[in-house]
């Protein structure tokens, strides 16, 4: 294969700007399979899927495209998962030379557009700007063009107009891919292949998605993972077209998959470099920036029997999500669980949801925390990511917390609401850029810990869903922070402790105890709930003792039904955590997130 005729690229876009439709359209236009073959092969592949029970993930598709009587190979590398995950985008971009930037003609630039462009530039990619959905009656091509020019400095001529839906402008786009995106460059003759994703398959083991940068890789080669020197023999190689098509060799510049009977999840680090065991490369590829988790929370199985299953679930998720971190921890209230680190709140939500849905484990998540930089009176300094680990106040000289810098894209009508929200979140106003006469990008510096709570939801409701939001971590600042504990029936529940700003502690404490009062069902005795700092009680609410817990009517017809009711009640109890002698439902641990009183 002629490396000069290879083009590797991704599509980047803000959510719902038409990334998937455009990818489909490119597949259709540059598909190298005839209609008939396509059908047959797809059917085959479905049989295969059925037989093996696997789903082939469309992560990197190889396409052939004829241009000026020459055959070109395209590798379209999907930016996997949610586009909001800049780190996931970034690792796909590391395998590319170019990126198609898609902007919706009816929406214009959004916060994620900005973030994606920045990532593409960080990776030295050539960017092809595309305005999509130009067929829509409410499209406003000129002003979106203006935004692209003003914000990123593109030239008017280089911005392509496309309708992924109708196919308008796709040929021109494919031509631009060939002309503008450079072919891969070989810098060494020894094998260096970047692992940019991995999939677990119960038959084949771990399937690696790789971009061969230098050298060739063949079936039977003994390869080495450069991060930990583990070695494997290559069993299968191939590309997705999008149907998986096995090959004997993958050469420089190519993107495909590799199977080597890899069973040990720990051996695989997405972002690692593969080389030959014998003629090893000297250095690993730069890969991509290892993302540091910024938000932490404890994840505990409701049923302690699920602890090992939870470990396994986290292992599997980490396989293609290197940003996820976890280590075992114990909570007095919740038993054995894991302290997990995430890149942000959305990441956290998605991991929690996947564990509950895909692995069928009922979880309790403790309130999320950021990493605090704590300076002690003895001059030392520690990182605290779990509020319960915060040392005694007497030992602390100061606490610093991470701050973010916001990009909040919003119609100018909502400037006031956004500012009010940011102000409530302890934000410092920095500046405001006008994107055009109707839209602004508002910059604040806000403590990350404030974003961790309900910022996204609030922003959505404050702006009727019009705002898009993105942020960068900008460093640490000292603040007057204290640990607030929650006592239930006089006993401190470690999983409910939070670190708050002193000036906001009273209000938060009051809301939390009131919410807990609503959520925790009445017990057989009266239960006080208190929010305390040290020994000082900031707020208190009492849950009255239960008065009634009876099936009033129990006649002939009712009996099996009443028995079921009782069984259900028993099951419900099992889903609660008993702390001291108080039964606390799962939602209580999440309620601490809410800054509002429950209605």
């Amino acid at each position: 294969m002629n490396i000069n005729n290879i083009r590797n690229f991704s599509i980047i876009a803000h959510i719902d700007h038409g990334k998937s439709t455009l990818a489909d359209r490119i597949l259709e236009y540059a598909g190298n399979i005839s209609e008939r073959d396509k059908k047959d092969q797809i059917l085959d592949s479905m049989d295969l899927e059925r037989e093996r029970g696997i789903t082939i993930k469309l992560n990197a598709v190889q396409l052939k495209y004829n241009y000026n009587n020459e055959e070109y190979i395209f590798h379209l590398i999907d930016t996997p998962g949610h586009v909001d995950f800049s780190y996931e985008v970034s690792r796909s971009l590391a395998a590319c030379e170019g990126a198609i930037l898609v902007v919706d003609a009816t929406q214009g630039i959004e916060a994620q557009t900005l973030a994606n462009v920045r990532l593409a530039l960080d990776n030295n990619l050539v960017i092809i700007p595309v305005i999509n959905k130009i067929d829509l009656p409410n499209s406003d091509v000129n002003s979106v063009k203006r935004e692209l020019i003003d914000t990123f400095g593109f030239n008017d001529e280089e911005i392509l107009l496309v309708s992924a839906k109708t196919g308008q402008g796709i040929d021109k786009l494919l031509e631009e891919i060939i002309i503008k995106i450079p072919s891969p460059k070989i810098t060494d003759d020894r094998l260096q292949a970047l692992i940019f994703d991995s999939i677990y398959d119960s038959y084949k083991g771990i399937i690696l998605l790789i971009r061969v940068v230098n050298g060739n890789i063949k079936i039977g080669d003994t390869i080495k993972m450069m991060a930990n020197n583990s070695t494997y023999e290559v069993i299968e190689l191939g590309v997705y077209t999008p149907i998986s098509k096995s090959k004997d060799v993958l050469t420089s510049g190519e993107v495909g998959y590799l199977c080597a009977q890899i069973k040990k999840i720990d051996d695989i680090v997405v972002g690692d470099t593969i080389t030959h065991n014998k003629l090893s490369a000297v250095e690993p590829l730069i890969g991509y920036k290892k993302m540091k988790p910024m938000v932490f929370c404890g994840l505990y199985p409701i049923d302690s029997k699920d602890f090992e299953d939870l470990r396994e679930a986290l292992e599997k998720l980490k396989l293609n999500d290197s940003a996820l971190s976890y280590e075992p921890e114990t909570s007095k209230a919740l038993g054995f669980g894991f302290r997990c680190g995430f890149l942000g709140l959305l990441h956290m939500d998605i991991i929690e949801e996947r564990i509950e849905r895909e692995f069928n484990i009922n979880l309790i998540a403790t309130s999320p925390s950021v990493i605090y930089d704590v300076y002690l009176t003895d001059g030392s300094n520690i990182n605290v990511e779990n509020p319960t680990k915060l040392p005694d106040r007497q030992m602390i000289s100061r606490i610093e917390e991470p701050y973010i810098y916001t990009n909040i894209f919003v119609p100018s009508d909502f400037i006031g609401s956004v500012m009010e929200l940011c102000q409530n979140k302890r934000g410092n106003y920095i500046s405001m850029d006008y994107i055009d006469d109707k839209r602004v990008n508002i910059h604040y510096e806000i403590p990350l810990s404030e974003i961790v709570y309900d910022f996204f939801d609030k922003l959505k409701s404050y702006t009727k869903g019009y705002a898009s939001f993105d942020y960068d971590i900008i460093g640490y600042k000292a603040n007057d922070l204290v640990k607030m504990d929650i006592l239930i029936n006089g006993e401190s529940v470690d999983a409910l402790s939070i670190i708050v700003h002193k000036d906001f502690a009273y209000k938060r404490g009051k809301i939390i105890v009131e919410n807990l009062k609503e959520i925790i069902p009445r017990q057989l005795f009266e239960v006080p709930i208190q929010a305390v700092i040290g020994s000082k009680v900031l707020a208190r609410a009492d849950i009255k003792a239960m008065r009634k817990d009876v099936i009033a009517k129990c006649y002939g017809g009712d009996i099996t039904r009443k028995r079921k009711l009782l069984e259900k009640q028993k099951e419900g109890k099992k889903r609660m955590k008993t702390v001291g002698s108080v039964e606390i439902p799962q939602e209580a641990f999440l309620s601490i997130l809410s800054m509002d009183e429950r209605k």
């Binding site: 009445r522 057989l524 009255k544 239960m546 008065r547 009634k548 817990d549 009876v550 099936i551 009033a552 009517k553 129990c554 006649y555 002939g556 017809g557 009712d558 009996i559 099996t560 009443k562 028995r563 009782l566 009640q569 028993k570 109890k573």
Partner: protein, 356 residues
């Protein structure tokens, strides 16, 4: 096997809180239903001696005189030579002298009348069509005919405490042999639920329960929701609470025969086609014990230790958490029985789930 329940699903009006199986009375529908009922009984009844018979609903008294007569001929399939208690459920507005006389003449010896409250405003909220005067009239007619075992149903948790006290005054004045008091429970598929009516809070509910208990001190509070004068316990309902077997016939009726409990269909078409049983639950020995504890503990004196041992070959004291609960004074043990202490009676679910 000594008991039979028969369900009559028809009503002239639908109460806003009712989640039993019921439908509007229609003469043709009721005629057809009685034929099906006859068929069901004829094909499933095995000829046992029946000691208690209970006709419930719906509103059995919504049937016409002709239909009631038909119903009594159906009932004659049973061997009733040892019949001790024959209860007929009725509501005030569907009763008159003729119907009551017919019931009496056909062996009904216990009337259960759903009065719910004596307050005309609240009766309207419940969509009951009678008023306080009708209650007194019907009650006096029943007495004059000779009914000497009458149960009145009272609902609480819908009126305020003042009205509840009025209701209790009236009840005590009427002096029935048996009173059932149920706290209003707003179930899905009821008009109240759809209208988004809220249940009263449990503190007030408990307060009302306590008031009732105190005011009815002349009565024996022999089951959570039931009070009676000495010797007037409902024999039929005790069959349920003693975990004994019984037939259930009719739409949505439930029964417990041999080693299974069953629920009849609630679908009239299916029922008329002869597909009576919707679901069967095989009751294992273990499950039977759980049912027995759940049901027995509803009664004032709970579980009879000797009977429990004779039946299951298990000393109840050694069963699960029972001895712990006795130590915690949640359960009381005396010479013959194990029962829930008065303080915990209204919270008995929390005790039951520790046992079963």
């Amino acid at each position: 096997m000594k008991s039979v329940y028969i369900h009559i699903p028809f009503c002239n009006d639908i109460c806003t809180y009712c989640d039993f199986c019921k439908m509007y009375y229609n003469c043709d529908l009721a005629n057809k239903y009685l034929i099906s009922l006859n068929n069901e009984i004829a094909s499933n009844y095995k000829g046992e001696l029946i000691e208690t018979l209970y006709i419930g609903g719906g509103t059995p008294s919504s049937l016409s005189i002709m239909q009631l007569k038909k119903l009594f001929t159906i009932i004659n399939i049973f061997n009733l030579s040892q019949l001790k208690e024959f209860t007929f459920e009725c509501n005030v507005d569907s009763l008159d002298y003729d119907k009551l006389k017919l019931l009496y003449d056909n062996g009904v010896n216990r009337l259960s009348v759903g009065i719910q409250t004596f307050n005309n405003d609240i009766l309207k909220v419940l969509n009951r069509k009678h008023n306080i005067y009708d209650i007194y009239d019907i009650y006096n007619i029943a007495r004059s005919i000779g009914f000497n075992n009458i149960n009145l149903d009272l609902i609480y948790g819908i009126q305020d405490i003042e009205v509840l006290n009025d209701d209790l005054n009236n009840l005590i004045k009427l002096n029935p042999e048996h009173i059932s008091c149920y706290s209003l429970c707003i179930n899905p598929n009821t008009k109240m639920y759809i209208d988004n009516k809220k249940q009263i809070n449990e503190d007030l509910d408990y307060k009302m329960y306590s008031i009732i208990k105190k005011r009815l001190k002349e009565y024996n509070h022999y089951e959570i929701s039931n009070y009676c004068k000495k010797g007037y316990e409902s024999k039929h309902n005790l069959v349920y609470w003693n975990n004994e077997r019984y037939y259930g016939f009719g739409l949505s009726a439930c029964g417990y025969i041999n080693n299974y409990r069953y629920d009849n269909t609630k679908n009239m078409n299916e029922y008329n086609k002869g597909n009576y049983i919707k679901e069967k639950y095989i009751i294992s020995n273990e499950e039977n014990i759980k049912y027995e504890i759940m049901l027995n503990l509803r009664k004032k004196y709970g579980i009879n230790k000797r009977e429990f041992y004779d039946k299951h070959n298990i000393n109840i004291i050694n069963y699960n958490n029972i001895s712990n609960l006795i130590n915690e004074n949640k359960l009381i043990e005396n010479e013959n029985n194990v029962y829930i202490s008065e303080r915990w009676k209204y919270k008995m679910n929390s005790i039951l789930i520790k046992i079963i």
